[in-house]
Symmetry: C2
Subunit: 177 residues, 2 copies
DNA sequence: TTCAGATTATTCAAGTCTAAATATTCTGGA
DNA sequence: TCCAGAATATTTAGACTTGAATAATCTGAA
């Protein structure tokens, strides 16, 4: 629904074909979605058969036919409905790499610290990249800001974890269990 | 890979069948994964055919045959490899509901604020639930702590967004675009 | 000019994931 | 006792998602 909201919203601003959409998203919105090409095509087709969008075929030379999409009236209604719903909801996020912390005691404490410092490096690098990226305008700037804040909070959290492991010389008190 | 790491790690501690695994995860690890029943069964079968786990059939009465899994030597190697890899990496997270902020200017500012306050309510409720949950032990306690911190940071962020929208009487300066 | 490699644009097969269906056994209240 | 509904366990059909294949056109350096 997330991706559909995005596609509908972009198409509402300007009709586009699949490749154009994906290009735009990759260039400008990579901070907030990882939507892949083939999924975008799939969703466009799905939305077309649901009547949310319609397409014009535009043929040029011997290239594959491009289908330029725009939302229907129904599509716009769906868009606003989804928009309101998303605005009001909160979808909690799972931290992918936290699973590894569950099993940190399988590793010697020194190695664990070493590995977590590598993780820290990756986080910091990403944070730098986002800080130095060309400024985004409007709401997409907010989303970059959101990511940067999130990364800062995560860095703080990880630092504390690393410290705990370092101090104890092991991952956590067995007596905790 | 995430889920596989989790399953292997749990099976290393104690052999279990699918239902048992999923029960355990839902009861104790719902803060860090949303692994569904059918996916767990799927992964167990996949890991079995990859030779990472083996299963004993245990028949009791006329119930469907239970398959109790445990990791093979190869499975353990894979487990430690994945564990090291996950420890050292950082997988950035996309904020599902941020997409809606991109299109916040489609809504009257008052309505936008109203909807975002609903979102805030959902966040706060979740945070309360996690704070009041029975304390977890060992690393899984850390993961709950991680979620709580994350929720607090998100609340701060959302509050600022709400304030910006309220102050301006609209979502963002058109001149920003 | 020419042709290797980048860009434009879509499709496809295969792999992943979910909701719902299936089927047995347990539990507790009338 | 008896039976409705909860708990125990797995399977399956179909929906979603991905990586790689396909194919035409553009670019620029030799």
């Amino acid at each position: 629904m997330n991706d559909e909201l995005l596609l509908l919203g972009l198409l509402r601003r300007e009709e586009m074909h699949g490749y154009q959409l994906v290009e735009f998203i990759e260039r400008n919105l990579s901070a907030c979605t990882g939507l892949k090409k083939s999924k975008a095509y799939f969703l466009l087709e799905k939305m077309a058969s649901a009547g949310w969008v319609v397409s014009d075929e535009r043929r040029s030379g011997k290239r594959p036919t491009r289908r330029v999409y725009r939302p229907t009236e129904q599509g716009l209604q769906v868009f606003w409905k989804m928009l309101r719903k998303q605005c009001a909801q909160f979808t909690p996020t799972y931290f992918q790499d936290d699973i590894s912390l569950l099993f940190l005691d399988e590793l010697p404490a020194e190695e664990a610290v070493e590995l977590l410092k590598q993780r820290r490096g990756a986080m910091e690098e990403l944070r730098e990249r986002m800080l130095n990226a060309p400024p985004h305008s409007g709401a997409s700037g907010w989303l970059v800001e959101h990511q940067v804040r999130y990364l800062s909070a995560e860095l703080n959290w990880l630092d504390e974890i690393i410290q705990r492991v370092e101090e104890k010389g092991r991952v956590w008190n067995k007596s905790d269990e």
